[in-house]
Amino acid sequence: MTRKQRRLTLIGTAGVVLASAFGLILFALYDELVFFQSPTDIALTPLPSGQRIRLGGLVEEGSVVRSDNAEVSFRVTDMENTISVTYKGILPDLFREGQGVVTEGIVSPAGIFIADSVLAKHDENYIPKEVAEALKKQGHWQGGKAAAN
């Protein structure tokens, strides 16, 4: 192999690997992004069926209903609109009524949000940033303390 051929092989291989990595990243970004939505967003613009989203808001007071087999349902609100959520599994330690929550899943044709994960929080004062901002947008935000945490 001449010097030129060696260099070409090297650059060629590098090109192929980098191009495929780039392609994979673009494809995955197009396909696997999960958008954050508030109950109002969902009420205003219906989603294509099967589209995964992150839903954030407050857990409505008195809405948590537990049934056997570790199933639980509750409602998430942003004070304008409310959506029912069902989840099978163990809720994070800091899941409480009246507190902020972020869940991920899909909206069923019946309009119920079927969550497959409810995000754990690590701090009792913490309201997810997205939730705080969504609430601010709706004009229902009091107190800047939690936002700083």
Binding site: L10, R54, A70, I90, L91, D123
Partner: protein, 662 residues
Amino acid sequence: MIVEFGHYALVLAFALSLVQSVVPLWGALARDDRLMAVAAPVSVTTFIMVLLSFAVLTNAYLTADFSVLNVLENSHSAKPLVYKFTGVWGNHEGSMLLWVLILVFFGALVGFFGGNLPKDLRAATLAVQGWISAGFILFLLATSNPFARVANPPLEGADLNPILQDIGLAIHPPLLYVGYVGFSITFSFAVAALILGRTDAAWARWVRPWTLLAWSFLTLGIAMGSYWAYYELGWGGWWFWDPVENASLMPWLAGTALLHSAIVMERREALKIWTILLAIFTFSLSLLGTFLVRSGVLTSVHAFATDPTRGVFILALLCFFIGGSLALYAWRAPALKQGGLFAPISREGALVLNNLFLTSACAAVFVGTLYPLFLDAVTGEKISVGAPFFNLTFGPLMVPLLIAVPFGPVLSWKRGDLLAASQRLYAAFGLAILMTVFTFWLWGMDMVLAPLGVGLAVWVMAGAVAEILTRVKILEIGPSRAFSRLIGLPGSAWGTSMAHFGVGVTVLGIVTASAFQEERIATVRPGDVVELSGYQLTFDGAAPRRGPNFTEEVGHFTIRQGGIFVAELDPSKRVYTARQMPTTEAAIHTTGFSQLYLSLGESRGDGAVDVRVYFKPLITLIWIGCVIMALGGAVSIADRRLRVGAPKPARKRKSAAPAPAE
């Protein structure tokens, strides 16, 4: 008074770092030996000052001195002693102080052991190290002073975040920081080489052991963090593609690439400029990780109470070091002497391939981690990039790399023979196929990827063993003579094989634990039995219990297999009194390499409780593999050739005196 002394020591350390940043570099450029000689003693004194200040903070924690704001906010008099000690770095200020302590410790190591380096290289390296420590000590003093006082100290502190009250806090952050910060040395070496405009043999010899050291610790730190999250957070997962995890994975990937390119540079004097760039990238990613985790950009267990000025300060440091070093690279790198070219099929070629895949994978993780932040900053749109993104990008980039791993060490330098190399791997390949077929037979045809994954893991493991066996020529000279060759193998050969074997072990754990995991979620009342993977778990009831600074509700489970008693497990739900914060304590039973994982959910009031049970086959292999990798790194560092190795001036002396003492 003692506390002020600690603060003062930190201010002194800052002043010393400024001296270290300027004087030795001036000396190196002006070729003044006296100025260059300043570097080593100053770096050691800086370390002593920061160590003093760290000791003072530790003392404040151990004596529960609540007049110090940092102790007040993060400690409690009833906290067990071990957490009073580890609590020193269980908060923003303390953890940054630990970061700086390790940074100046590495500087002191170079000052202390760098005697056989060319004088100007050592001086310039320590000067660059001085810039970094000056920057971060200033950050501590200006925005995160751990020694701030309270005017009217209350009697009791606010306690440490309960999730951090675990032995993991004693191990995970120090290991991870030694890894993160250890890469600062290779960074300083790279920048020093750019400033001096040359890379000599001594430079090449020095980069690899430091990289190995940092890499081994980073590997352990990440593994420990993963295991900690696995048992402490009660979700039963060991990796979440969470941005803070990615922040540690990126320097690991870049560091792994650096490790391999440094071999080429050391042996073949090629890829020099690329290695310098990788060294800059690796530490830049470490800094980026520190920024992501410490600035409050991300909300996670690692983000302690945040303050926007800190974020801006770290961002400024980040821009200075990354931007500055890359600008210097663009300016000076073209002036460095290029290394030679080599055939694509050769050891060097394989190592380049390794670098290509590792850096691409690192780029994929980078995009997935930063794109949501970028989009939020630019358009205000909130998105999240989760596991599916990484599985789709990181996964496919790792597969060809893993297939190629066994080929690398059996190819020869310069011009390799792929056919001859493959012949050495026939047995490994056969074993991999056998295991794939066996897994298919065991689990049926409905799972395609998992058996192939098992095959791939076995291929990597068997390839590592085959490499050692070929090296000792077991087929040619017979087992007894091969054994004596085995003992005589250099440490770096053992290190390579062990690390590669560890990769295979980890991959095997990942594949089996993800593909063959079984999970059951149930609501149980006393006397109920949950069946999972051949185990019967009987719920005997729950009872309250008091700990030193928490109360808990403990569920009692008896585990049987085919009616025979196996173990008792006590998962619990705790509430920490000071913060009124609940946590979940999972209970784990290990059988062989597999684990039965039990975590308790909400109590239903009438004696019923939610419970989540997992059977995770071979999951411990994930972390065992990481430990084997790190051990491989350690064995490689212990290689005599690396320590005795001949930096240029020493070699000149050697030729004058033919029998140097070792």
